[in-house]
């Protein structure tokens, strides 16, 4: 680029940046700022009610404090989270805030000077008053790169992003040659975060060198894995980092148009991305001659329509073209023959979100994190029976044990760890013996699972491994597009076998048939959905064969989960005769008192096995138990 052009890019960006910074400073100057986390996870926990309560209390007290809606900090177990930065105090995060606590915080902390330590989660900065997040045991393992801004800025205000260093990597990129950017990405060692882990720089180079115009760039935000929500959190909490990544990638490969494909099940992510697009267009960071350079690029938002298979790149492209999302054979790869037959780069949300840092701060910093083969960090969505559910960003190579027990603080209610399910329907269940495996692209594959996009469901002793295999197969079977025979019919057959198992009707020889079928489905399917669909079955069979055998041979579910193999029973000796908790909560009126002895009896013919009685029975009695097989229930006298 000519010197004059380079100058104009710099000065155009400097102007945008100084405006954003002055507005950001205006927000911070001398006032108490209240931040409420209103991503979907916060909303499900009641963040909007808290927000309303805080606003009306501020009005009632005639206080002029800016209330900022921020995204998700990753501490989803503590939602709704409210952060208050009051001059003279460090910014303090409060957890599980309800409207009453919200009002109290305003009266006591903002009006008074009592920081209400009983509700504190932690402080954002080190200080002498309250423990900060850096003092948490998990801080030793965490390294936030793409989650850096999440929960700290308002995703609906572009100034917040720019004032925190946003879009300066784009300004820098526009002064480099596209080849230089590709080299930088190559030397960073960035691998695609969608699951397969293909080196991003190489893919870009193939796409850049491909013939055909115009070129397209697609950001794959069709995060279909049930149990994964990293992309949702990023798009809801920091959409501009993804857009900046798209702009840099678009410039590097010479693309003219970009699409950002977001799942329909994420309405808030759609809304915030749409708003973010409007803002960048207004600042001329998107459109013709971005920042006065020769680079012109447009991004359109495309809303998915609820099909898991569309996470596969060729199916996603078919969907963008207005067709049913059927995958097709690769090669040719989309990098050379993609959308409308033109060269198309498809990258995951997270892959693109790393770019502002890689370009802005140099590839060296990124490449120093992680392992030899897998550079950078991994983002996991921790869910299931782990204490600290939420998002965790750790360097590649951290062990599963560290992620679950140090970052996630172990298993809820002191139960025993049984397995961790990684990679969603394409991944597998790994047992305790695999916990020392490092999380990177290659180690997990060897153990039979995949890193996938990063969903991690922790299972404890109450979770049945046959049932989880059946659940995933039911999912892939329903989501199979039906193009390949093995995937369409093979998954159906396997599901039928597993259904029988969970009902205690299976035969031991079915286990061999299941393995045989699994191999055939793997070999006979075109896309990742079919090729990986048997993984949950194969890994559970490999590590938890005894559970399958208990179902088949004894009609017993060791985890007491499969509804056809358990019965609820009230132990007469433990039942507190005057308590009616179970009778009142039973949703089908199946519980009644013994006519003379007054202890409670469950009518097994009416019971739907919902477990409400077990939860409602006061812990000091614990009279309700689950029995498997159901024949263990004594005949009532």
């Amino acid at each position: 680029m000519k010197v004059s052009k380079r100058q104009s890019v710099l000065s155009a960006f400097a102007e945008i940046k100084s405006q954003a910074e002055s507005r950001w400073r205006g927000l911070k100057s001398g006032k108490t700022v209240i931040m409420v986390g209103t991503a979907t996870c916060g909303r499900a926990a009641g963040a909007l009610e808290v927000l309303r309560a805080i606003k009306s209390e501020l009005k009632r007290q005639r206080l002029d404090c800016p209330v900022v809606e921020v995204g998700c900090m990753g501490h989803c177990y503590a939602e709704p989270i409210v952060t208050i930065s009051k001059p003279g105090y460090p910014p303090i995060c409060y957890s599980q805030v309800n409207p009453v606590i919200g009002e109290r915080l305003i009266r006591e902390f903002i009006l008074g000077d009592n920081p209400c330590l009983e509700f504190v989660l932690g402080a954002l900065e080190k200080n002498d008053l309250v423990p900060s997040f850096a003092d948490f045991p998990r801080a030793r393992f965490e390294n936030k790169v793409i989650l850096k801004n999440c929960g700290h800025i308002d995703p609906e205000h572009i100034e917040h992003y720019i004032a925190n260093g946003g879009y300066s990597a784009l300004a820098k990129a526009l002064q480099l040659k596209p080849e230089e950017i590709i080299d930088e990405v190559k030397s960073s060692g960035l691998r695609g975060r969608g699951g397969a882990g293909f080196p991003a720089g190489e893919k870009w180079e193939i796409c850049r060198n491909a013939r055909g115009r115009p070129k397209y760039l697609i950001c794959n935000g069709d995060e279909g894995d049930p149990g994964a929500f990293m992309d949702r959190a990023i798009l809801e909490s920091d959409p501009h980092s993804v857009l900046e990544g798209m702009l840099i990638a678009g410039y590097a490969i010479g693309a003219r148009y970009g699409y950002i494909y977001v799942r329909a099940e994420y309405p808030l992510a759609v809304q915030r991305t749409r708003l973010a697009l409007r803002q960048v267009r207004k600042l001329k960071l998107l459109g013709n001659n971005i920042l006065g350079s020769d680079f012109s690029f447009d991004i359109r938002l495309f809303q998915g329509s609820g099909a898991f298979v569309c996470g596969e790149e060729t199916a996603l492209i078919a969907s963008l073209e207005g067709k049913p999302g059927n995958p097709h054979h690769r090669p040719p790869y989309p990098a050379t023959n993609g959308l409308y037959g033109k060269p198309t780069l498809v990258n995951n949300v997270k892959t693109l979100a790393y770019l502002p840092q890689i370009i802005g701060e140099g590839s060296g910093k990124f490449a120093r994190i992680g392992t030899e083969q897998s550079k950078g960090t991994a983002v996991f969505a921790l869910a299931g029976k782990v204490v600290n559910t939420g998002l965790a960003e750790v360097p590649m190579g951290t062990t599963l044990h560290q992620v679950i027990f140090d970052v996630g603080s172990g298993i809820k209610e002191g139960k025993r760890f049984k397995a961790v399910q990684i990679g969603g329907p394409s991944g597998g269940c790994l047992p305790e013996s695999s916990l020392d495996l490092p999380v990177d692209f290659d180690s997990l594959t060897q153990a039979g699972a995949i890193m996938g996009s990063g969903g991690m469901i922790v299972l404890d002793e109450d979770d049945c491994m046959v049932e989880i295999a059946r659940y995933f197969l039911e999912f892939t079977q329903r989501e199979s597009c039906g193009k390949c025979t093995f995937c369409r019919l093979g998954t159906k057959q396997m599901l039928q076998v597993l259904d029988e198992f969970t009902k205690g009707k299976g035969k031991i020889k079915d286990l061999d048939m299941l393995i045989e079928l699994a191999e055939d489905v793997k070999a006979g399917s075109l896309c990742g959905l079919g090729r990986t669909a048997p993984n949950p079955i194969l890994t559970t069979l490999r590590y938890f064969r005894d559970e399958y055998e208990a179902h088949i041979k004894e009609g017993r579910c060791p985890a007491l989960m499969c509804r056809d193999l358990i019965a609820y029973y009230i132990i007469p000796e433990r039942c507190e005769l005057t308590c009616d908790a179970c009778v009142g909560t039973c949703t089908v009126e199946a519980i009644s008192s013994h006519p003379t002895k007054r202890y409670k009896i469950i009518d097994q013919t009416k019971c739907v096995k919902c477990g409400t009685c077990l939860k409602s029975c006061p812990p000091q009695y614990s009279a309700v138990v689950k029995l498997s097989p159901p024949s263990l229930v004594p005949v009532s006298k």
Partner: protein
């Protein structure tokens, strides 16, 4: 043609006017139509096929391929039970049974009085609040069978104007 059908046709034409005649607009068009009409009636799909100049079967195949599109009219309140992994392991299927039992319909159906429609969703990404049910587009965390009764009761009260 009934009055309702005529109305659908007219509304569809109005919405189509905002789109270009490109095949790639098919899914955005169908989404917009569903947003406005609540579902995709036959008349609307026929209009779309004509507008984009594609065979009717192509429109129908897209509508039936994607989970989001509905062929039945929705209820006044939408109930979407999340069956993601975390929700399933925490008893989402038990919650689904509770909804089915109380509303007396199966997944994908609408109650005869068109008050409620019940469906499942693969995952709404609120795994930490499992089991989740999305009630009228608002995700509600920790919905167990007793909470199902609570939600239904609040709707009943609202209807009675209390």
């Amino acid at each position: 043609m009934t009055e309702e059908q005529a109305k659908f046709k007219q509304q569809t034409r109005r919405i189509l006017g905002r789109f270009g005649k490109k095949r790639s607009n098919l899914i955005p068009i169908l989404q917009k139509l569903q947003d406005n009409l609540g579902y995709l009636p036959r008349e609307a799909m026929l209009e779309v096929a004509q507008f984009l100049d594609v065979p009717e079967i192509d429109v129908y195949s897209v509508v039936t391929f994607y989970n989001q599109f509905r062929l039945q009219p929705p209820g006044k309140h939408s109930i979407r039970v999340c069956l993601g992994t975390a929700c399933h392991m925490k008893g989402g299927y038990i919650t689904l049974d509770a909804w089915k039992r109380r509303l007396n319909i199966d997944r994908g159906q609408t109650t005869p009085d068109r008050e409620f429609d019940l469906d499942t969703v693969a995952c709404v990404g609120c795994c930490v609040m499992a089991p989740v049910t999305v009630v009228d587009n608002k995700p509600e965390g920790k919905v167990e069978p007793t909470r199902v009764d609570g939600i239904l009761l609040s709707f009943k009260r609202e209807k009675e104007g209390k």
